[in-house]
Amino acid sequence: MSTLKRRAMMLTAIAGVAAIALTGCGRGGGTTPDETGGAAAASPGITDDSLLFGISTPLTGATAGPGNCTADGAIAYFETKNAEGGIEFGDGKTRTIEIKKYDDEYNPEKSAANFQQMVADGVFAAGIGLGTPTNRAWREAAIEEGVPQVLVMTGDPLFNDRTESPLQLGLVPIYQQEGAAFGEVLAADSEPHKVAILYQNDDYGLGYVEGFKEAIEGADNIEIVGELSYEPSAPSLEGQITELSATDADVLFHAVSVVPRAIENMQKAQALGWLPSWFLPSNTASPGGVLTPGGAVKADGSLVYPGIYAVAFSQAAASPAFQESPEGQAYLAAVEEYTDNDGISFPHCVWSWIGAQILEQAFMAMEEPTRESFMDALMSIEGFEAQFLLPGGAINTTTDGLPAVQDVVLQSFNGKGYADAESFGG
């Protein structure tokens, strides 16, 4: 390496460091709430006419599909509200809501960095983003900084523990809720049932099983006759299905999150001549994605298996009923106008729209422009019938240990789509 080159490099390095330092433009330049005085001094990110909300979620990479939806639903909702003039807050002022999205590529390191960037950008609150590790990566930092991290899309119960996570709240049902919804219906049935359980050996599968077992505890009509686990990376579960088929169970609790495995298992059980009723988690229950390729529907439209059950809490944007309703049309028009999304391919777009409605409720109730007032308002929502929840469902943020969506509905597959299931076999 020549001396000249070395010097040039040194200069580059010095210039680089100096440039980074200059962008800092002095420490402690901003006004902190303490300096402005007064009991109701505004938190960062909120002015008399606007509020900044940050969403860190996977916008590129393998999870980009659902990730973009988690941002786009809320963007569509608030842009519509902004176009109407804004939202009237509990303190009487009308504010527009600015959503700023950050790409974390489903990488916890990036989401933690995004949080630091959000603080620098002065967000009032953050959340709605997708992913368990990516949200966990900045949970404690958010608590330290006093930034609310709300309505996150993860089934991880930690975000609903009010003691551990005072500034957090989950949006979507936790895995335990889904498992419990099925367990309750099964326990209420008059017939005796033999249940086989296949679960993924991580927080996902264990969560489902935990919820199910709690719900059937003490039910005399239910006997668990077989219970097997698998690793998420397993290339095939045929061995497990074969072993479980030997138990001759009439119900299979199928806590499997990998779509190709779910399809294969459905084919394998038929091939073995084992025809139980299936319980499927919401992310591997798609009629087009799992049930049809799995051969669960005969040519005449009837089911191969006696029953297929799954849990839902929101309406599907792909259904004709949704697309014909005025709310559904408004939703699709807003998504079309303000985002590049179609709003249909992933349910997360609708979930994000529901999350935005919950935020709006909190905004309308917060009496001071502070994060404390926002958290108080957010944690006091009861019986809010948000758009696109299933009939009878309501938002409730007041129960420790549960996310904003607490009502889940067991549905059964009828050969074309899912319909509410009042009882097992019903």
Binding site: A8, M10, G26, A137, E140, P232
Partner: protein, 354 residues
């Protein structure tokens, strides 16, 4: 005599430059916004990971696609130690134990793997290293009692001690940047000395190395082991900077991102490692402010532009500019040096004009 004076001058110039850089790095956190400090801290973390990769790829010429595995193992070793009851009881020394384990464990794993893998060449060694993150992610999920499973674990032991009077971001900056600076100094002396020369010969031609009494196998194992230890060190710094890790940290895609950062910064260059770290951290940050959906495409464009225009990485930018300037001066200036990378004068001209 004249050459001795030149040497002294260059040494002095280098010393002055080093002192200036050190002074700037010491003062920066005291006057900058927290986000600036946090950004430089993260750059230091990934610069060390890229530095390790540079030793095995840039200097010793072996393809390693598994560097993130060692970063992840180091991060887990640090986090698990620091979280444990006995380490908490030990306080500062518990963190020191975490530091030692975070470097040692990846080093031992790297040594064991390279003992087998260094017998292979080219694509075969790349295949072995690909396997590391692919095995690492499910392993980290499987050992959930130790690693916290797919949800990840946090280890928060890097708040600023009260006696320092510093904020957390300043304290983390000083811890991470100091350790990273020491790592860079060690790497500098390593690649300047006899090991660096041996790596270069092994990279150039293994047969020649053997004929000179340099065992390519031993030096490949050595380079791989050192790279693993730097990876583990980066893992410790990762915990110091972010205080959280999860199986996704080890994923194969991030390993490729590190390789890309090495190439963009400049393979076989210490300064290039810093530039690689800057690229790795700053590009997503900048795309976030412009268009957060464009991260991947912007990274792709940068990689292509660098590969076509600056095959030596960003570190070769001053040389390229100097060459362009000389050519611009025409016949009055000194004659242009022989093109290093261009295959024809026309290619060369096109590169410089672009």
């Amino acid at each position: 005599m004249a050459s001795l004076i030149r040497l002294l001058e260059s040494t002095r110039a280098r010393a002055v430059a080093m002192i200036v850089i050190a002074a700037v790095l010491i003062v920066v956190p005291l006057v900058s916004q927290p986000f600036t400090n946090q950004t430089i801290t993260r750059i230091a973390v990934f610069a060390v990971a890229v530095l390790g990769l540079n030793i095995v790829m840039g200097y010793a010429g072996q393809v390693s696609l598994g560097q993130i595995f060692f970063v992840g193992v180091g991060a887990y070793a640090a986090a698990i130690t620091i979280r444990s009851e006995w380490a908490t009881a030990l306080g500062f020394w518990g963190v020191v134990v975490g530091f030692v384990l975070a470097v040692l464990i990846p080093g031992v794993i790297g040594l064991l793997i390279s003992l087998a893998a260094a017998r292979l060449r080219g694509l075969a060694i790349a295949m072995v290293t690909i396997a590391l993150p692919i095995v690492g992610v499910p392993l980290a999920k499987r050992l959930s009692e130790l690693t916290g499973g797919s949800q990840g674990i946090s280890a928060r032991a890097f708040g600023a001690p009260e006696w320092t009077g510093l904020d957390n971001d300043q304290w983390q900056y000083y811890v991470v940047v100091t350790i990273a600076a020491i790592a860079f100094a060690l790497a500098y002396f390593l690649v300047r000395g006899k090991y660096g020369r041996a790596f270069a010969i092994v990279k150039e031609n293994e047969a020649v190395a053997s004929s000179m009494g340099i065992s390519p196998y031993r030096y490949k194992v050595l380079a791989f082991t050192i790279a693993s230890m730097f990876g583990g060190l980066a893992g410790f710094l990762y915990i110091a900077a972010l205080q959280f890790t999860s199986p996704d940290t080890l994923s194969f895609g991030h390993s490729i991102e590190l390789v890309i950062a090495t190439i963009v910064g400049g393979a076989g260059s210490i300064v290039g490692s810093v530039l690689g770290g800057i690229y790795y951290v700053l590009v997503p940050q900048i795309t976030n402010t412009v268009n957060p959906n464009s991260t991947a495409i912007v990274q792709g464009i940068i990689v292509l532009v660098v590969l076509f225009v600056l095959p030596g990485g960003l570190v070769s930018l001053p040389r390229a500019i100097r060459r362009a300037l000389r050519r611009g001066r025409g016949p009055d200036g000194p004659p242009p040096p022989a093109p290093a990378m261009a295959s024809s004068p026309r290619d060369n001209e096109e590169r410089q004009n672009s």
